[in-house]
């Protein structure tokens, strides 16, 4: 039974300011650290169904991804939770991050030599410059570079 109450001039002013502000809404990446690649820019696309894809946060979602996809996430989504989850998934697939070459290595066969400081043998590594997996023979993986 209270009914409307006439807006005061102050409220009218607030409504006008709110209306102007609504024409310059914050954008999603205004609240996020600057992204070298793939900033969170909303771009007008066809109205594809925006249903909630399976819980992306779930780590096992990442464990289903191919290594190439995980490498893409790792190098192009730097500083985000996705990069962290991709790194975890790669380790579960026996990839090891080399902190000097900044590349991911995987044993191609049992190393020929294993000491306290290093292991040596044939490895597969993902070369982000040529964007592909390559084989490296007689490679010495020094443990001080093992993340």
């Amino acid at each position: 039974p209270l009914g409307p109450v006439p807006l005061t001039p102050e409220h009218e002013f607030q409504l006008a300011m709110l209306e102007r502000a609504s024409r310059r809404m914050p954008m999603l990446n205004d609240s996020e650290k600057f992204r070298e690649y793939l900033p969170n820019n909303s771009c007008p696309t066809k109205l594809y169904p925006q249903q909630l894809i399976p819980p992306l946060q779930a780590p096992d979602f990442f464990s289903k991804l191919e290594p190439e996809t995980l490498f893409f996430v790792f190098y192009f989504m730097e500083g985000t939770k996705a990069q962290y989850l991709a790194a975890k998934a790669l380790k579960l697939k026996s990839w090891r991050f080399h902190t000097k070459y900044l590349m991911w290595f995987q044993r191609h066969e049992e190393p020929r030599a294993i000491t306290e400081e290093f292991e040596q043998g044939t490895y597969i590594f993902f070369d982000y410059e040529r964007w592909g997996q390559r084989k490296k023979e007689n490679f010495k993986f020094e443990y001080k570079y093992l993340e």
Binding site: P1, G3, H11, M17, E19, A21, R24
Partner: protein, 500 residues
């Protein structure tokens, strides 16, 4: 100072973006800070403050120019703005981190307060960016800032309260974005050791939001911008209901004091919150014995000192005196006029005062009943000074006043606790003892309008309404108002069906 500042800011932005700057720009900073002292900027706090303000204005001007450049994509514009803003934020953080010695928290917090922007222009972007980036950086894992984290949260809460939407409506959307940012909510509500203080600060910000929306919501005057803000508010409240229901439980009284009476769903959402440790029995359970529930005699935590809100003090004294001695009888006949503000329809009553009187009397009644080792029941609540006041209000108030009075009671129908139990019994008692059907109709209206809106519905509301329509004691279905119109009868039957 202006030229020096412009030169230094330009130099810093260059240094910040160099690969050699290091992840936290500490290398760049150690060389840059010498330049600052060479130019005398660090000589006094006052100079540093002016330096900060000039930098802020330069950043804002740069953003304005970028934002007003024709045919620029928003991505390009943001790249330009962030390029400088993020560097400036990092400079503030590093100056904070290295100002004074790490134990001297006062220096840091004073500096932080000084660094804040003193005025807010219309375009939110530069300020929004500076705020949220500053908050994120000051809450990154850093020993020095961890030691002053509560003061940092306090500083941000204070400035966001100063910049609340009623004061800076042009900043309202960015403001809501900031207070609902996952890092902000996380630090204020999830991780802060000083949970109570931080929760109180956050609750104040939610009150600021409701205060801004109230005039527009009350008139159901919802042009698109208000709708946008309202919908955003509902999303934030849903997050709080899901993740921090205890916050809504603790501050429900404060929130209901500022939410307009016609904002049924927002209020229902707040009143539906219950502690995560609690398991609610299904309100539709046949023959549910509410009085046997484990928590039903536990008083809920109400973080608001509602008794202190009863002003003037003389009213509080007279009220307490009546509650104790059930005299003088004139207190009852005077009460209505002491709750009234004007004769303007729709604005007659002091709603916060009425809310505080109702909850104070109810709390006193519960204490009185429990002091006799009883629990609220029809016999235990009747014939008491407390019930005198409630029955007097039910009879003496006009439609508007009684609506507000009944609302104040129904606002206590939440999860199982002693307030829910007492006010549920009291509402049903007022219905049963009513001397006119108008009172019974209005009790039904107040309950019904809360049940016919979209979910969620508070547990205590459902339990009370089910009791009203099921128990033969209230002869609910025999009243004329139940059959006053076919659609009303259908509506009540459909609500009854969904309840039963």
């Amino acid at each position: 100072l202006h030229e020096k500042t412009e030169y230094l800011l330009r130099e810093w932005v260059g240094l910040y973006h160099q690969p050699a700057a290091g992840r936290d720009s500490s290398k760049a900073f150690s060389s840059f800070v010498n330049h600052m002292s060479l130019h005398g900027i660090l000589k006094t706090d006052e100079l540093i403050t002016r330096f900060f303000r000039l930098c802020t204005e330069m950043c804002v001007d740069l953003c304005y120019r970028a934002l007003n450049e024709p045919n620029q994509s928003s991505t390009r514009v943001r790249f330009q703005c962030f390029h400088t803003l993020d560097a400036f934020v990092r400079l503030i953080v590093l100056l904070l981190k290295h100002s004074g010695d790490s134990t001297n928290t006062v220096t840091k917090v004073n500096l932080l307060n000084k660094a804040y922007i003193r005025h807010i222009e219309f375009h939110q972007l530069p300020y929004h960016r500076i705020f949220i980036m500053l908050f994120i950086e000051l809450n990154a894992p850093e020993v020095i800032f961890d030691a002053i984290n509560l003061q940092i949260l306090q500083a941000f809460s204070n400035i966001l309260h100063v910049l609340r939407p009623s004061k800076a409506p042009g900043f309202a959307f960015a403001w809501l974005e900031i207070i609902s940012h996952r890092v902000f909510i996380g630090r204020m509500l999830a991780v802060s050791e000083n949970q109570k203080q931080a929760w109180g600060m956050y609750a104040q910000l939610i009150v600021d939001l409701f205060n801004f929306l109230a005039p527009f919501l009350r008139n159901a005057d919802m042009p698109k911008p208000t709708q946008l803000l309202y919908k955003g508010t509902m999303r934030v409240l849903l997050v709080l209901l899901h993740d921090f229901p205890e916050l809504l439980c603790d501050y429900h009284y404060t929130f209901c004091d500022v939410i307009p009476s016609n904002c049924i769903q927002i209020r229902n959402l707040i009143l539906s919150a219950f502690p995560r440790s609690m398991r609610l029995p299904d309100p539709f359970t046949p023959n549910l014995k509410v009085e046997h529930l484990p928590d039903i005699n536990t008083p809920p935590r109400v973080m608001t000192n509602f008794a202190a809100l009863i002003q003037p003090v003389q009213l509080r004294k007279d009220l307490d005196s009546y509650l104790k001695t059930r005299s003088p009888v004139t207190f009852l006949s005077d009460l209505r006029s002491r709750l009234q503000l004007s004769n303007t329809p729709g604005m007659k009553y002091n709603i916060p005062l009425l809310n505080s009187v109702v909850l104070h009397v109810g709390s006193q009644a519960i204490a009185h009943i429990q002091s006799k080792c009883q629990t609220p029941s029809t016999s235990a609540i009747a014939h008491s000074s407390h019930m005198d006041i409630f029955q007097n209000l039910a009879v003496d108030l006009d439609t508007e006043g009684r609506y507000l009075f009944l609302n104040a009671m129904v606002n206590q129908l939440r999860y199982p606790n002693s307030h829910t139990h007492y006010f549920s019994c009291t509402l049903l008692y007022l219905f049963a003892e009513a001397n006119t059907e108008a009172i019974q109709e209005q009790i039904t209206r107040v309950l019904l309008e809360r049940l016919i809106v979209n979910r969620p519905h508070p547990w205590g509301l459902l339990v009370t309404f089910i009791e009203l329509i099921k128990s033969p004691l209230y002869k609910f279905w025999t009243h004329d108002f139940v059959h006053c119109a076919p659609e009303i009868e259908k509506l009540l039957e459909s609500v009854a069906r969904s309840c039963i």
